[in-house]
């Protein structure tokens, strides 16, 4: 199947969203879910084509003299495409409950931008070359900007400025020159197994600079010191934070890094040239520093945001280590973290809708009022920490194993230390909710159920089940990752 089809459902649904508008909410959201299911089907058929070894390519448009826009599917992209399209459906279900329960304004604009962003995510997932990836990357930035500033008001506009400033600034300031550099040195921007830079005559030092330009240019991956946009973007409605800032936007970032390391540099080139030596400590620092900052945050969404920054740098670490095992682990972690983190965000939003609470310190005893939500939160947290029986354990295992190949235990210890920190900042939340007494209750009174709307609960149930199923049946995913051509 032509990967161009993946752009069709998210774009085709836009006229319907506009047509139905605020007046016919059910039709509006129904059409999005139908589009999402179509998209999932299309991605699934691409998946079977790739498994069967059938080449999946689109035509091309010559954007520049020698470089064109083109889509094609390879295993890494299929993983990302499947993930994003599945979570789009789930998030739409969730936002039906959330946006209405929370009485958000401008919901039509919200859904339109959301759809555009998702089309761009598909473009990034199936990008055949760096140029296409860059185009999709920028479209995502621009189309999500209105989502960040959704609430209006001065705070949201400031956050929007930080968001746009950092993401556009780094991508134009670092990523674009890096791409032009590759074009000049290698004469091609295509993604080729084994990379295109091995014989491009770039010296060791220059290679490190180029890699750094890519790493810092892709600020969506949240590497410090260009991570500020992520907490800033948390002013957005929770479904936005959930899909875009735990899944689509940040994952486009790390996905781009993985793809560039594998198909533009080639993992051998990265290790041979030692280009990553200088950057590994930056990623490791981000892992630890973000975990520690997460510790200090009382606002639940902010804590989750810093947790995301830390988790993203696991993947960056995996990419920079550039062994087959670590990069595979990185790809797997995109999926595992997405399921875990979206569950946590959904729960945070559910608490906000049902109880209007956003500070962790005020969440004592809410587990008795929202047992389902907090139970799901617990499972999601376990997955982020990386413990069985949740999917997060597989990817963490692979990344840790891959990092041992580097010959030092330094990076493994960073990962383990961060795991301990994860436990320390995530688990107290469900514990507090279930074990501490509820201050709002008078002695002797029992808490009544106050769960979020059903739509929210369904979405939470789906992703939580996903976390567990990914532990039990990781096969299809690992098989797909096994098809990546490394050299």
């Amino acid at each position: 199947m032509n990967p161009l089809w993946t752009l069709v459902p998210p774009l085709a649904v836009i006229p319907f969203i506009l047509l139905f508008g605020e007046r016919r909410k059910n039709l509006r959201e129904g059409s999005i879910i139908i589009a999402g299911l179509f998209l999932l089907l299309i991605n699934n058929s691409i998946y079977s084509d790739v498994i069967a070894g059938i080449p999946v390519e689109s035509g091309e448009v010559a954007l520049l003299a020698n470089f064109s826009l083109k889509l094609s599917a390879e295993p890494m992209g299929v993983v990302f495409g499947l993930l994003a399209s599945f979570l789009w459906v789930v998030t739409t279900v969730y936002s039906i409950g959330y946006m209405r329960g929370h009485h958000e304004i401008n919901q039509t604009r919200f859904y339109v931008c959301f759809a555009i962003a998702l089309a761009a995510v598909m473009g990034a997932a199936y990008a055949d070359n760096l140029l296409t990836l860059f185009v999709a990357y920028e479209v995502i930035t621009i189309s999500t900007y209105p989502l960040v500033t959704h609430a209006g008001g001065d705070g949201a506009r400031k956050a929007g400025r930080v968001y746009l400033g950092i993401l556009m600034g780094t991508s134009i300031g670092f990523l674009l020159p890096a791409i032009v550099w590759v074009a000049a040195a290698a004469g091609t921007l295509d993604f080729v197994p084994g990379g295109v830079l091995a014989d491009a005559g770039i010296g060791k030092g220059a290679m490190a600079v180029l890699l750094a330009l890519f790493l810092f240019g892709i600020a969506k991956a949240g590497i410090m010191p260009f991570h500020r946009w992520l907490p800033a973007a948390m002013v957005a409605p929770t479904p936005v934070s959930a899909l875009l800032h735990a899944v689509a936007v940040v994952k486009t970032g790390v996905f781009s890094v993985l793809k560039i390391v594998t198909y533009t540099f080639g993992i051998d080139t990265v290790t041979v040239a030692g280009a990553a030596q200088w950057l590994l400590p930056v990623a490791a620092f981000t892992v630890l520093a973000a975990s520690i900052v997460a510790f200090t945050k009382d606002n639940l969404k902010a804590r989750l945001a810093y947790s995301t920054i830390s988790q993203l740098s696991y993947i960056l670490l995996a990419a920079l280590l550039a062994t087959v095992m670590s990069v595979s682990g990185g790809v797997l972690h995109i999926v595992m973290h997405a399921f875990g983190k979206i569950t946590l965000f959904f729960c945070a939003g559910a608490i906000m809708v049902a109880l209007h609470k956003s500070e962790i310190s005020k969440m004592n005893g809410i587990g008795r009022r929202m047992p389902l939500t907090m139970g799901a939160f617990f499972i999601g947290a376990i997955s982020i920490i990386g413990l069985p029986p949740t999917g997060g354990s597989w990817s963490k295992l692979l990344i840790a194993g891959g990092s041992l190949d580097s010959g030092t235990i330094l990076w493994v210890s960073v990962l383990m230390l961060s795991t301990l920190l994860n436990i320390a900042y995530l688990l107290p939340i469900p514990l507090r909710a279930f074990l501490k007494p509820d201050p709002d209750l008078k002695p002797g009174e029992t808490a009544s159920w106050q769960e979020a709307p059903y739509a929210c609960l369904w979405a939470i149930a789906l992703t939580t089940t996903g976390c567990v199923l990914l532990f039990l049946f990781p096969r299809p995913l690992t098989e797909l990752i096994g098809l990546i051509q490394w050299r």
């Binding site: 064109s68 209105p146 506009r157 400025r161 556009m168 600034g169 134009i172 000049a184």
Partner: protein
Amino acid sequence: MIDQFPALQIMVTLVAAPICVMIRNPRWSWVCAMVANTFAFLVSLVLLDKVLDDGVIRYAVGGWAAPSGIEYYIDAMNAAVLVLVSGISAVVLLYAYRSVAKSVPAEKHYLFYTAWMMCVTGLLGIVITGDAFNVFVFLEISSLSMYTLISFGQDRRALTASFRYLVLGSVGASFILIGIGFLYAATGTLNMSDLAVRIPESESQRAVLVAFSFLTMGVLIKSAVFPLHAWLPNAYTHAPVAVTAFLAGTATKVSLYVLLRFFFSVFGKDYSFGQHLLNGVLLPAAVAGFVLMSLVAIFQNDLRRMLAYSSVAQVGYIVAGFSLATQSGLTAGIVHVVNHGMVKACLFMAVGCILYRVGHVHTPSLDNLLKRMPFTCVAFIISGLGLIGVPLTVGFVSKFTLIQASLEKGWWAIAALVLLSSLMAIVYVGRVIEIMVFRRSRETGPESSGMSEAPLSMLIPLYVLVGVSLYFGINGSATLEVAGQAATYLLGGLQ
């Protein structure tokens, strides 16, 4: 018939001008201008097609063969500029009808369209001719009519703006004339191809050098290259906005064409950039231009003035591309001439729509404009992104090519500064968009509620041009190919 097309290119609009005067009726003189301009556009398309297929066209005006007669000379370079000038003029003229009807007294309309036709004729003439003195003649035709057009502006500041431009423009034109005079004295010919052959052989190299300096200064003034841009912001701000859209898309671009023609075709790359180190003058001016003027644009509160400073900055990119003096650098410069011409015309047309409904374009008071004028705002945003150089817009195509060209030559600093000024563009465009889209309006009077979009006759031309620019943003290789051919011709000299 097709052999006579080069003459037709000039004649149609030239003849339309006196007819407009004779008609006097506002509507019919507009129709006359519109028909002539559309015809000129079609002619230019035919010429471009022919040039791309068959190579250079030479046309002896009045049957007098060059070098004694005047010759029209068309290669890929000027064919593309002809299409740009006549195309943008046609679209903006279509748009101008309503806009002018509101801002210019009805009894002066026929004069307005007459001046417009003269201006287009002049610009097309400059581009098409292969005769150095003829360039000056057409330059004067276009400049004088341009001063007239600017003075049609709504308030009296238009008159001072026009006068200021007249003074500086005349200085520039005189410099060009002096330069051409010296060339004639040194070589005894005015035909460009002939000049190219005779300049190296001339015995009075000093006269050639003087000619070169005068021409350089003259052309730089006319194309508003920093720091000789002083006339531009006022002229752009106070002229009728349709005129501004037209000028921004064409006038400075034509002067840049003259720059290319003289430096590369007449004097030759080696003379201009080798012996006389033109890039010692051009490159610093260009770089300072795009960095400083982008910075200045950030602080402008009048939308037109902001766009005017951004225009000076964009001219900087173009000249930077030229001064690389390589195949890819020239390609980048030329493609940006076309791309920026389209984008800036779109932006000023959108500004015109806002002006038409809101009555002012004071940026901080445009809050929540998206609600009132959604179509205009979307067009403005799309073109604004083009100004920044976001992918899928034409701006990206030219910026990518420019950065690539400067890296190819090893000029890292230039690439970095181009990126820096792009970041500034994010700030000055982003600021406007933020106000238009996200700031709630403070007043909730009857004015601010409900939609009041500009008339269709203004929106359609605007969207036509936005559509074209998006098309070339996605299929950028189309313009790049023409620009590449043009660059090859320029570097190869006149055949």
